[in-house]
Structure formats: structure tokens, C-alpha cells
């Protein structure tokens, strides 16, 4: 019987569609984020190979199923039996070998990448003990500062760029997992008791910036809130920051990468020094706020009656840098929550 027009057209579409689909798959979706660590790059490359193999298997098998449905569908009224194949040893040996070969290729690549990930450097740039507990983190530096979460903001792990960072992962209670998606790696924090050895994780960040992370192992009620931030900075900035911290000075605002725009706002005599500012849409920006008097002030951004960002209060003369999440294009207002009548200005977010 001749294949129908519809089925031959379908076949044409399939023939053209399958490679297109594969290319689409590889081009855009089903990819992890762009890796920001050296190990992450290895994982990413491995993933691309695996995804490519997976894509071939997927297209071949699903393609055959669709083909079989179209091609071998019983014609109405056809009551004859098809040929009754019970099996064929030769082809079965062949299709035992196909997955075997794929599995061995995959295993080889995986082990090569694994040895890269597990490699430990002689002299890591910084060693930080990460304490995970329900539901927060503390970052302890060797002979150095301790960073906790402050004022509801997630704690910040500050590390240098381009040098191996070694984390000692220590749980103070139940299991947790240290995970930064853009690093493409995670490792569990498990309390193994007095004789247990903590897990270690080592990576080298390739680009300065701030990276969001959160606990990946379910750890009880507020597991979803157990977040942290990794702030990667150039070695000089890192040293400067740590030195300032050690000497008791207020550390300079950090994170060279993350503030493409910094707005400076000063408060004095219960007045802001500016009445309006403009920032680009859909981009994080910073507000460097300086309170010049012994009256509590802050900066909050409102969309109508609703706060989209609320900065911490500065209760006496001092400075703070707010990291403000991206805003959509439009008109907003910035306000001091303590003096909403007197201290108010306009924010224009432009495309």
C-alpha cells in the first residue's frame, strides 16, 4: 500500500524537524547557567556532551515511535495478521552493544571531570569554615572575621576571584547543602559527630560579582529561607576589605562587579540631598546612603503604597550601601520610612 499524502508529509516534517529540534535543544534551553567557576566550566562541558548523546537517543527513539504509529497503523478492515517475529539474536546483540558503548563513553568522561572537581590545591587563596544551621549560615575565616546574616539580609561569603576557595562544610544540626547554581556544584553539610570529618568543597571563581546561593537539602520548616550570597572580588579589594574590617574601620563598599549604577544619597536636617534619580530598568543597582546626623534614616523604594525595597536604618552618622534588586520600567518614589512626609523623592526607571 502507498503511504498516504499526510503520512509522507509528516515524515518530511519529522526528517527536517528532528535535527532542528536537536539544535534548538542545544542552543537555548535545557542548559545550566553560564558557569562562574573553573570546576563549573568542566561540569558544563561534560553536560553538553551528555546532553548531545541524550538528544540523539531521544530523537531516535521518539522518532521511531511516531514513525511506527504513522506507518504501521492498522488499516480499517485489515484483519490479517502481520508476520510473527519472535526475535533475532543478531540484532539483539547489536542493541545490547549500543547502550553499552554509550554507557562506557559517559562513564569515561564523567570520571575525567570528577578528578578535576575533586582535585585539591596546595595553597588555597582562602579557607572558610561554613557553619550551616536551621535556618541560616555563618562564615568563619581562619584567624579572621565571622560573617552572619544581618537584619534579615542573607549572610555574605566574601572571597577573592581567580584563586582556589576552600570551604569546610560543618553542620551544627541537621543535614544541609551548600549550593550556588552559577558555580554548578554543591556539597552536603552533615554532622558526623565527634569522630566525623567535615566535607570540603573547593572551587575557583572566574568572575567578580555576587552570586545567590541557598540550602539544597531539606532541613525543616524554613528551609526555603536558608539563603546566602557569595561576593567574589579582586584580590586587592578583598585584602583591603579584610584589613579595614580587622582595624575596626567601616569597610569600603564592595562588590566591584555588581553595581553598574550607584546612586549617592545623603541625609541631613531631615532632608535628602536629592529630589530625584534615574536608574536603568531590570538591572540591580546600589544606593550609597550616608546619614549625616544622629537621627535614624533609611531609604525605601515604593511602588504606589507598596514597598519594593526597604533599606536598613542608619541610626547615627554613618554610611551604608544598599543592593537594590532590579525594578521594572516606570515611576517609583524613594522615602525615609521614619519621615515619609519630609523625606521623599522620585525614582524614574527607564528602559
Amino acid at each position: 500500500m502507498q503511504p498516504t499524502v499526510a503520512s509522507s508529509r509528516l515524515r518530511k516534517i519529522l526528517r527536517a524537524g528532528a535535527p532542528m529540534f536537536l539544535i534548538g535543544l542545544l542552543a537555548g534551553c535545557l542548559l545550566p547557567p553560564e558557569p562562574k567557576t573553573e570546576v563549573g566550566k568542566d561540569v558544563f562541558n561534560l553536560y553538553i556532551i551528555v546532553l548531545f548523546l541524550a538528544g540523539i537517543v531521544f530523537v531516535a527513539v521518539e522518532g521511531f515511535i511516531v514513525y511506527a504509529i504513522v506507518r504501521y497503523r492498522r488499516k480499517p478492515g485489515d484483519d490479517t495478521l502481520p508476520e510473527q517475529h519472535h526475535g533475532n539474536t543478531k540484532v539483539e546483540i547489536i542493541w545490547t552493544l549500543i547502550p553499552t558503548v554509550i554507557v562506557f563513553i559517559l562513564f569515561g568522561f564523567s570520571m575525567a571531570t570528577l578528578s578535576e572537581i575533586e582535585a585539591r590545591s596546595e595553597n588555597p587563596g582562602v579557607v572558610v569554615q561554613v557553619d550551616g544551621f536551621q535556618w541560616d549560615w555563618t562564615f568563619r575565616y581562619e584567624d579572621g572575621p565571622v560573617f552572619n546574616s544581618e537584619g534579615g539580609e542573607p549572610p555574605v561569603l566574601r572571597v577573592p576571584v581567580g584563586e582556589p576557595v576552600r570551604l569546610v562544610l560543618n553542620s551544627l544540626d541537621v543535614n544541609h547543602s551548600f549550593y550556588v547554581p552559577q558555580f554548578l556544584i554543591k556539597r552536603d553539610l552533615i554532622d558526623l559527630g565527634e569522630n566525623g570529618r567535615d566535607n570540603e568543597l573547593e572551587f575557583t571563581i572566574t568572575e567578580a560579582g555576587t552570586y545567590a546561593g541557598q540550602c539544597a537539602e531539606f532541613c525543616g520548616t524554613a528551609h526555603a529561607d536558608m539563603k546566602f550570597v557569595v561576593e567574589a572580588m579582586e584580590r586587592e579589594a578583598f585584602d583591603e576589605y579584610m584589613a579595614a574590617l580587622a582595624s575596626g574601620e567601616t569597610p569600603p563598599p564592595t562588590g566591584g562587579g555588581e553595581c553598574s549604577t550607584t546612586i549617592e544619597i545623603k541625609a541631613n536636617n531631615t532632608q535628602f540631598d536629592i529630589g530625584e534619580f534615574e536608574v536603568p530598568a531590570d538591572t540591580d543597582f546600589c544606593i550609597a546612603f550616608e546619614n549625616q546626623e544622629a537621627v535614624p534614616h533609611n531609604v525605601a523604594i515604593y511602588d504606589g503604597g507598596e514597598a519594593t525595597f526597604t533599606g536598613d536604618f542608619v541610626n547615627e552618622p554613618g554610611s551604608i550601601t544598599y543592593n537594590v534588586p532590579a525594578l521594572p520600567a516606570g515611576e517609583f518614589r524613594f522615602i525615609c520610612d521614619a519621615h515619609p512626609q519630609a523625606m521623599v523623592g522620585d525614582v524614574t526607571v527607564t528602559e
Partner: protein, 560 residues
Amino acid sequence: MATTTLEPRAGTYQRSWVLDWLTTVDHKKIGILYIVNSFLFFFAAGILALLIRSELAIPGIQFLDQNTYNQAFTMHGTIMLFLFIIPALSGFGNYIVPLQLGAPDMAFPRINALSFWLLPLGGLLIFSGYLFGGAAAEGWTGYAPLTNRSEGVGTDLWIIGLALVGTASILGAVNFIATIFKMRAPGMTLFRMPIFVWTMLVTAVLILLATPVLAAGLIALFIDRNYGGSFFDPSVGGNPVLWQHIFWFFGHPEVYIVILPAMGVVSEILPVFSRKPLFGYRAFVFATIAIGLLSFSVWAHHMFTTGSVLLPFFSFMTALIAIPTGIKMFNWLATLWRGKLILATPMLFALGFLSMFLIGGISGVMLASPPIDFHVQDTYFVVAHLHYVFFGGSVFGVFAAMYYWFPKMTGRKLNEPLGKIHFWMHFIGFNLAFFPMHQLGLDGMPRRISDYSPDAGWTLLNMVSTVGAFMIAASIIPFLINVIATFINGEPAGDNPWEGNTLEWATTSPPPPYNFDRLPPIHSERPLFFLTHGHGHAAVRPEDLEETAEDDVERRDGAV
């Protein structure tokens, strides 16, 4: 001959149908009880899934507070696995295995009834936490030491309920093994058993070896929580990783306990609706056994990120499972090859199984690679993977079995157009709900979180997923209408509506108590094929007609 054949039907006496169903030891009634019970729990756990998806549709806390959310996903996972998928497939096994073997009942009918009645009891105990200050909220994996330290009786009820359900499983497994080895009809050699029976046999062996390990772990956990034990709590010298080893030593064979019977169902349906024998019957049997054996050497691939396991070994063993699974996939495809496909609803669900389980299989092989696992472990990628295996695989198998064997169980055929509507809504809804989760996981969205930041960029895909979940729920409506309408006034099915070739189609629909008045001769894995198409058919192989020792026994004993 007719005058000397014993009437196999037991003498009946009047009693109310309620009492009859409550006290039945008939494998067919118990099978139906299993299936009805499983679907009730399916709807309950499905509602929990809708709550979870509603909460995650947009960022922010909308409907559920964190604690309620954690209870919801814990109960959803526990109930779906232990009280829906496993018992539903066991129910079909209970109904169909004795029929396919030509046996009058299971080997131990009373144990069969006991192992069923433990299920609703266990399930209700697990759920009853909601009445006593909150259900368990530690995830269906119940990781220590979180479970050691959580307050509330809900977790204790979860432990006791699961232990009961596990006991039911073990009893059922013993029964299946005894039935399959000792109750086969004359002529039904091991290599003439239908593939569904083979998969149930391997499943039963896995249950028998794996479930006691879970039971031991649960008892240890109960002692830790209530009597000052120190198995898993590091603060008193225990080891929390030990719990993970115990749980996954059960938990990975569990995955195959859930998927193998569904593979068996599909291996029954594809040949019948392609009008061909299963391609490579023996290869399929050996692949099933190989999967069963390998399943005990891969548990620690759930623990790659703990830093406590030998990565290359478990990675390699896990990847090896792709080989027997690949063989099965090729055998199914070759069964379609040059067949005459009849796209009735059971076949649609079976083809749905093939195409969806494939995706779960592929993502499983990806997860077997430790470096990739380091990125996506405990993210939505894993959630996507497990739903493509459990839902795209097993649940499609459950529905395929439902549409395939419903005529046998009730004597009435489910309505085809409604069945097709159900299938397509189910299929599309399923992919909308779960495919986006692959990307969410790759983007780094951890599983088991009640909320996420609007800045994370996960909002759109979560919304799509929620829409898909509600579409799956909506697809259940035509299914329920179909089942109810067919009960009331369905098309009579006859003994063998699908032209099946296994013994369950050789008796009436529904079968009488003790199943068979007489059995056809059994010369192959398709005994009815000869009855339908005759010995002269070109497709009948010479070896199918060879007399064996069992055939002599059959002749000597006469009608069964």
C-alpha cells in the same frame, strides 16, 4: 467428559455484599479492593499535589504556610508511592497473575486478604497525623537527624503506618512468589509465563529483599525518637548517613518495584495491539532479572553529594542499568516494527509509557554522572526525573492496565472516545507539569522549597507547571465519568475483547470464582493464539507444538 468434570464453583450462600467484600479471600475481589483503595489514596495525594503547585505558581506565600507546605509534599510523596502506585500495580497483579498462570487463586488467600487490609490501615495512620497536630513534614525520604529531632506525633504515625504498609508488601511478595512457583497450570513452564507474571515475580523478590531493610530502619528510627536510641543522631553518637544508606538500600530497588510491573503491563499490551508476539521474549526476561540484580548495587547514587560514598563504583553500576533497560526499549520498538497497530486507549497509554519513560531513563543516566549530579542533585531536575519515571512510567502503566483489564474485571468495555480524551489531557498535562522542571532544576531551583524569589527567574516555568498539574487533575474527570458510566451501562466486553493471547482471556468476563472451567493446552507464552488462529497458521513455530514432560502431566490429569 462433561458429566465427570467437577463443577468448580463453590456452593454459594446468601450474605450481604458488604460482608462479602469485607471478608473475601478471592484474589479477584481483593485485586479490585487494592485498585479502588489505591485510587482513593491517589485522589487524596493528587489534591496535595495541587496545593503544592498552587503555592508555587507565583513567588510569595499564598495559600500554605511553610509547615503546611512541608507536610503537603511529604504526604504527597509517601502516599503516591506507598499507597497508590505500588498497591495499584499489586492489585492488577493480584487479579491477573493467577488468571495468567491458569491458577484458581493465590497460594495463600487469607494472607492475601491480610496484606490488603493492612494497607488502608497503614495509609490512614500516616494521614492521621493531620488530626494530631500535623502530619510528618520531613520529606518522604525522612532524612535523619531531621526526623530524630522533629516534634510532634505525626512523624511517629508516619513511621508506624509505613511499617504496616511495608509488612503488607512483604506478605504480598511471599504470596506472589509461592503462587508463581507452585500454582502454575500444567504446561505453564517458567519460560511460557506472560511477561507481566515475570515482572511481578522479580518485583516480589525485590520487595522480599529490600522492604525488611526499610522496616528495620523505621524501627530503629522509632527507637531513636521515643526510647532514647542513638542509631542516627550524631549528638548522641549516631550516624545520619547510616539512615541514608538504609533508606536507599530499600529505596532504589523500590524504584524498580514501582516500574517493573508497569513494564510488564506494557509488554502485555504492545504485542496484543500490534498483533505480534513480544520481540525477544527471553532477552526481555533476562533483562528484567538483570535490572533486579543491579538494583541492589546502586543505592548510593542518591548520596553523591554526601561525600561519604565511593563515586566511581556507584556511578558505574548505575549507568550499567541503562543496558538492560535499553534492551527492553529496543524489544518494545521491535514489537511495533511491521505490526498492525490498533490505537485503542490501552495502547495509547502503553505508547505514552514508552515515550515518557524514555525521558525519565535518559535523565536518570545523566544523573548517574557524579559531576552533573553535583549540580542538579536536590533540584527540580531530580523532581522532573522521578516524575517521568513514576508518573510518565508507572502511572501511565496503571492507566494502561486499567483500560486493558477493565473489561475482564467487569465484563464491560470502557468508552473509547472518553478514554482518548482522558489520555490526551493526561499526556499534555503531564508534559506541561513536569518538563519545565528540568529547566528549573538546571537553573538551580532546589526541591522542597515553599517559596522562591521573584528575581530568580523561575516564575514563568512554575506557572506553566501549575497549569499542567491542573490539566492532569481535569483529565481525571472524563476517566471517572467513564468508569461510572461503564459500570451502569457499558458495552458488554465478551471474554476476549482485545484478542489477547494469555490465559486471562480464556475465561468469562468477569471470571467465575476459581477462574476456569477448563484450560486450553499451553504450548507457548501465547496459549490462546493457537485457539484463535489454529495450528495450521504459518506463524505457529514447530517448537510451540513439541510435547514436553509438562504436557504429559496435563494429559494425565485431564481438565483442571
